[in-house]
């Protein structure tokens, strides 16, 4: 049991002053931003009710939506694959990417879930995380500690020191703007050198076969638009019926993640193409010629039949529950599953497979449900997981 080892770690984590500083800065910024945004867009609270209904309906029809999305994506010229578990996901991805020397990757928890970067690296392929937080985590050989803010546990001072050690061409200062500039300069050529880009997706519209990727940095836009090939690894719970549903889901996601509106909203429905010469459609104009989607099950379809776990499938991955969880506020992503952090992360670990003994840390205070746009009460799920552990179900 991971919790048994973890218990000894708690003292150390609680004494980590850098962690406390980083968390307090991030949580305070998040709260200020979110309060401002919700004041400006009070209609978001109404929209969440509709989005909850959309997501509930989608989880109920999960297999049907996979089929519809697949059908429409294929019609759009996308190669669609289905992976029943993490191993199959890695195998499919490797088959698609084995001819690549260099890959640029946008932030994706689904890729984390199947350990895709590490797997491709083990096959000798160079893979670069291009989201700043993920890049920092990669440079430090660390774990993403938050689904939206992977480097939430690191104050700027630690980041600068680590980046200066790793990137000898860059001498960043403690000024955050300087850090961003340094990483931008470091990664710039990687985008042009890359043979492929990897991404996840925040939501998929079955009816049009479109995936939506929300981002602020512009890295996902480059990673999915510059290389000749784009491979998207997407959990099947991300599929909703229509494009209009998908936009609503996306809007609630970015609002609760703490953004009034994201810098970029990428909607990708087919490989890059042009019909400018004689109206003959040719693939791969400026963007990727090859576009692959790998739909990943990895326990999701089974969970859609489970009274408690199906609630976790409604999660939009906005991360608000983590900022507001008293345990997370002390331990950051040390609390949760191996990949997915926080209380909801333990529920997701139960879905995707892994040690869920950290369920015993939950306070059952339901603060997560209060701040979650989908009103997911992780404490209810975690109490059930405690029962499963105790009764070895």
């Amino acid at each position: 049991m991971r919790i048994e080892e973890f218990k000894n770690e708690i003292k150390k984590i609680l004494q980590d002053k850098n962690l406390a500083i980083a968390l307090s800065r991030a949580i305070s910024s998040y709260r200020i931003n979110r309060a401002k945004i919700m004041d400006k867009f009070p209609n978001t609270y109404k929209l969440v009710e509709e989005v909850r209904r959309i997501k509930e309906d989608s989880v109920e029809r999960i297999q049907e939506l996979v089929e519809t999305a697949t059908e429409n994506m294929v019609e759009n010229g996308i190669d669609v694959h289905f992976a029943k578990d993490a191993e199959e996901g890695r195998k499919i991805a490797y088959k698609l990417l084995s001819d690549c020397n260099c890959i640029v990757k946008a932030k994706s928890m689904t890729c984390e879930e199947i350990r895709l970067r590490e797997f491709l690296e083990s096959k000798g392929i160079e893979v670069w995380e291009t989201d700043l937080g993920e890049f920092i985590v990669q440079m430090l050989n660390d774990k993403p500690m938050h689904i939206i803010t992977p480097a939430i546990h690191l104050p700027r001072e630690t980041i600068v020191k680590a980046l200066n050690d790793k990137m000898d061409c860059v001498k960043a200062s403690n000024n955050i703007q300087e850090i961003v500039k340094a990483v931008k300069s470091y990664l710039r050529n990687k985008f042009f050198e890359a043979d492929a880009g990897i991404s996840g997706a925040n939501v998929v519209a079955a009816e049009t076969g479109s995936m939506i990727i929300i981002e602020n940095e512009g890295n996902a836009r480059l990673a999915t638009g510059l290389p000749e090939k784009h491979v998207a690894i997407i959990g099947v719970e991300k599929i909703v019926p229509t494009l209009s549903d998908a936009i609503k889901v996306a809007e609630v996601t970015w609002r609760f993640a703490g953004y009034a509106v994201p810098s970029y909203l990428n909607i990708i429905s087919s490989p890059s193409k042009t019909g400018d010469i004689e109206k003959i459609i040719v693939k791969g104009a400026h963007g990727p010629k090859d576009l692959h989607v790998v739909f990943l099950d990895n326990g999701r379809i089974k969970a859609s039949q489970d009274e408690y776990l199906k609630e976790a499938l409604l999660c939009l991955r906005c991360g608000s529950c983590m900022y507001e969880c008293p345990i997370y506020q002390k331990l950051s992503g040390h609390w949760g599953g191996e990949v997915y952090t926080g209380g909801i992360g333990i529920a997701w670990t139960a879905i995707t497979g892994g040690d869920v003994s950290m369920a015993f840390l939950c306070l059952l205070c339901s603060r997560c449900a209060e701040v979650c746009p989908m009103k997911i009460d992780s404490s209810k799920i975690l109490r059930e997981l405690r029962k499963k552990i105790l009764y070895k179900k």
């Binding site: 345990i327 002390k330 205070c365 109490r383 105790l390």
Partner: protein, 291 residues
């Protein structure tokens, strides 16, 4: 890897203690009848403490020892092998008992007749939280039998945990009402920063009813309250203490050092973290030292 067994052992001890004494600590607690000086019960309406306020002074003492010596392991052995109540002297028990006395006075002021069970069973909340449902089922039988024996028709709870168990977990054929739903018209002018207990605010929807005193509102209040850290005090005492310190500091940053709450677990954890905390019900106890 030695701590592997500790947690499971702690759970096993908690289980064993139920069969020994009916509660997780394996001790005999004072009944509300003893605390209130009531010798018999002839009322169909019962003031039910669920033993929660009585167990917490022992938990507070145990945690003080853990805080001092840092090891749960040895204490866990004591739980299982010795008659614990004879060794552990409850800490600040009057601060908890004054809540029970205050509850009785507040009900009298509200002209509500009530009795108490002379043999009051534990509410089962810790077993429920830990997912030990076989004990929850056993405990429900004990509670049902005690209620039937005493022809109880209406229960007034004072602990949020008891209220949640009786209202939402057990299927009992009695009316369950939380005390603040009955005494919200009574006011007192005592001033303190209010800490809403999570269960009361979020799971039972009791928020405005608590504001029967001069309550100073902190950050994160009402349904948006932050947990005191108490529910994990036995399994993760250090983490629980740090959460109590953070929340306690947030409370007193509202401008007053005096904290008032409405839950024995919150009260225990704030006291453990060194804050000047009391239960709101204590304001009605008539005990100047405890309000």
């Amino acid at each position: 890897m030695t701590s592997v067994k500790i947690e499971l052992q702690a759970l096993r001890i908690i289980e064993k203690n139920f069969y020994r004494s009916g509660n997780p600590l394996g001790i005999k607690t004072k009944s509300p009848a003893e605390i209130l000086g009531i010798s018999r019960n002839e009322c169909r309406t019962i003031l039910y403490t669920g033993q929660s306020y009585q167990l917490m002074p022992y938990v507070l003492r145990i945690l003080s020892i853990i805080d001092k010596f840092g090891k749960l392991e040895k204490l866990a052995n004591l739980f299982s092998n010795l008659n614990f109540s004879k060794l552990i002297i409850p800490k600040m028990e009057n601060r908890f008992y004054s809540a029970i006395r205050g509850a009785a006075n507040a009900l009298k002021n509200a002209k509500i007749d009530f009795g108490v069970l002379l043999n009051e069973p534990y509410d089962g909340s810790l077993y429920y939280d830990l997912g030990m449902d076989h004990i929850v089922d056993e405990n429900e039988k004990i509670i049902r039998s005690e209620f039937e024996k005493n022809k109880v028709e209406r229960i007034i709870t004072i602990s949020p945990h008891s209220c949640y168990m009786l209202k939402k977990v057990y299927s009992l054929d009695v009316e369950v009402i939380h005390i603040y739903e009955l005494i919200s018209n009574i006011k007192c002018n005592k001033k303190a920063v209010i800490h809403d207990p999570c269960i009361l605010a979020r799971k039972l929807g009791i928020v405005t009813q608590l504001r029967i005193f001069n309550a100073v509102e902190p950050e994160n209040t009402g349904k948006n309250t932050l947990c005191c850290g108490g529910p994990i005090e036995i399994l993760f005492p250090q983490l629980s203490l740090q959460i109590a310190k953070s929340r306690g500091n947030e409370l007193i940053s509202a401008g007053l050092n005096k904290i008032a709450t409405a839950c024995p677990v919150c009260l225990m954890n704030f006291l453990r973290a060194g804050f000047d905390a009391r239960d709101i019900l204590s304001f009605f106890s008539g005990d100047a030292n405890e309000d």
